[in-house]
Amino acid sequence: MKSPYPRWFYLPAALVYAVLFVVPTFASFYFSLTRWTIFESHFIGLDNFVTFFQEPALVKGFVNTLIYGVVTSGLKVVIGLGLAVLLTGRIAARGYLRSVVFFPVLVSTIGVGLTFTVLMNPERGLINQALGTVGVDGPGWLTDPAYALLSVALVDVWKGVGLATLIFIAGIVSIPQEYFEAARTDGASAWDMFRNITLPLARPATVTVVILSLIGGLRSFDLIWAMTRGGPGFTSDVVASVIYKQYQAGFAGLSTAGNVVLFVIVTAIVLPLSRFLNRKEVEL
């Protein structure tokens, strides 16, 4: 008898996925080794990669990508966990707080980027105005090369921390209450309980947040593009914005080499990390 679960059910999805995702991914390895105009390609070996790691503007993009990924995912873990503990604790207006923290996740990244560009205006922006009233001289968030990338990273955290918080809340809620009660009877302090119960048992949630926000952070493009376009100069460029700039300039081969570099960064960081984090999972 024929199976009621025929493998041709894979076919329509496989076709779309193969043509528009798998083929381009494999093609990128070849085209990254060529001088390419989309119509004509000319094999030049590793020249594109040499350019990528010699041109200061492109090296900067590479370094910035790592900084951006680590900073955003680190902050999302710390702040997200803090908020989740707060929101599962004895606090009023929980529903309101959860909604308010989560809503930015759903809002257009471009809209958020443009709004914060205005809020971060060095002279007239609301943030520096507010800092001015308490006597602090706010920096040129997006105009000072030393701060531009970190300012964008902060906005990224503002927008994305709601999702991290939700994942942590789901993790904390699934911890059996008896553990906390037993600990309380033994006279454990709030900090002891957080350190010895919440933190280890919410580990799967932590792993998820770390991995998800790293994948997102390393690939991030639209927020940076909406806020600084990689500027001032190229000080806040990341690999994804370099890919776009090189594509626009007509260097399709170099742009694709950027894509391969991004592929290597993401897989080289995310795969070993997820294997490592998942192995040390605690038994409940």
């Binding site: 009621p4 679960y5 025929p6 493998r7 059910f9 894979y10 999805a13 496989a14 779309v16 043509v19 528009l20 995702f21 798998v22 381009p24 991914t25 093609a27 390419w36 989309i38 604790g89 004895r90 606090i91 009023a92 309101y96 308010v100 923290v101 809503f103 759903l106 809002v107 257009s108 990244t109 471009i110 809209g111 958020v112 443009l114 709004t115 809020l119 205006n121 007239r124 503002w158 999702l163 939700l166 994942i167 789901a170 009660e181 998820t208 998800l212 994948i215 690939r219 639209d222 909406a226 776009y244 594509y247 399709a252 742009s255 894509n259 991004l262 592929f263 993401v266 897989t267 795969l271």
Partner: protein, 273 residues
């Protein structure tokens, strides 16, 4: 132990959350209602002269009703690609969950790869040009489907695991073929998880900026028009923020109606990712 609420902490949390998360949104709304001169001050103040209606009309009329065209394009893109990815992903998830094995392993690998691997942009343009779909709406719809499949498959597979196999067997004994079994028995049972997938993916596709930027350079979508608007109307902040406000409305409506679903989908899809 004691169920007493910590009022000090509560008040601090409410105030801080209002400053950090509500002020930017209030700022958008206030700016959208100001006249041009006051908006250019960029301050957080009540509009001297409320002119929401006029700003709204100005934004809609700007650049030959570009925003209306963009809204139509974005709607077509969102509806078609979300419908496509939901049906295709459900078929994959169904067979994948019911019939693991050698092929299942490969499919699982591809699903995870789709979540991790950054799409290769220019080679995708090359493929689209080769098939004559570059810069066309169908081309972009197919791209969105390809990129959204992984998330939907993971979501559906987990849900299908909870549907008893006896149901399939009963349907088969009654003479249902695979297509009937899937579309008449399984697919309707997926209703709740499908709503979740539709809501989450609609918001994602509607907010997508990168793919339309690369693959549909000719026709505007809402995110692209917003971005270009910011470049062209640099001195008219009231109109810019009206535009931002209009683009924030659809996700807000989704959020008000489907809060629970979105939360369930995002955490479920994430935790077993």
């Amino acid at each position: 132990m004691n169920g007493r609420r910590n009022w000090v902490l509560s008040i601090v949390a409410i105030v801080v959350s209002a400053v950090v998360f509500l002020v930017p949104f209030a700022f958008i709304v206030l700016m959208a209602g100001k006249d041009r001169a006051q908006a250019s001050l960029l301050d957080f103040s009540w509009p001297h002269q409320l002119q929401f209606v006029r700003n709204f009309a100005d934004v809609v009329e700007a650049r030959d009703y570009m925003l209306i065209i963009a809204y139509i394009n974005s709607t077509v893109l969102t509806v078609a690609s979300v419908a496509g990815m939901v049906v295709l992903a459900a078929m994959v998830a169904f067979v994948l969950q019911r019939r693991p094995g050698r092929w299942g392993g490969l499919v699982n690998f591809l699903v995870l790869a789709g979540l991790i691997v950054p799409p290769a942009v220019v080679p995708t343009i090359w493929v689209l040009k080769g098939t004559g779909t570059f810069g066309t709406m169908p081309g972009l719809i197919l791209v969105e489907i390809a990129f959204g499949l992984s998330f939907c498959v993971l979501l559906f597979r987990a849900f299908i695991a909870t549907i008893p196999r006896e149901l399939d067997e009963a349907a088969v004994i009654d003479g249902a073929g695979p297509l009937r079994l899937f579309f008449r028995v399984i697919f309707p049972l997926l209703r709740s998880v499908i709503i979740t997938a539709v809501v989450v993916q609609s918001v994602t596709v509607f907010n997508d900026f990168v793919n339309p930027l690369y693959f549909l350079p000719g026709d505007p979508t809402v995110q692209l028009t917003l971005y270009n608007f910011a470049g062209q109307y640099t001195s008219e902040y009231n109109l810019l923020f009206m535009n931002i406000l209009l683009i924030t409305v659809p996700p807000l409506v989704m959020f008000l109606f489907f809060n629970r679903r979105i939360v369930a989908g995002m955490t479920a899809g994430a935790i077993k990712g």
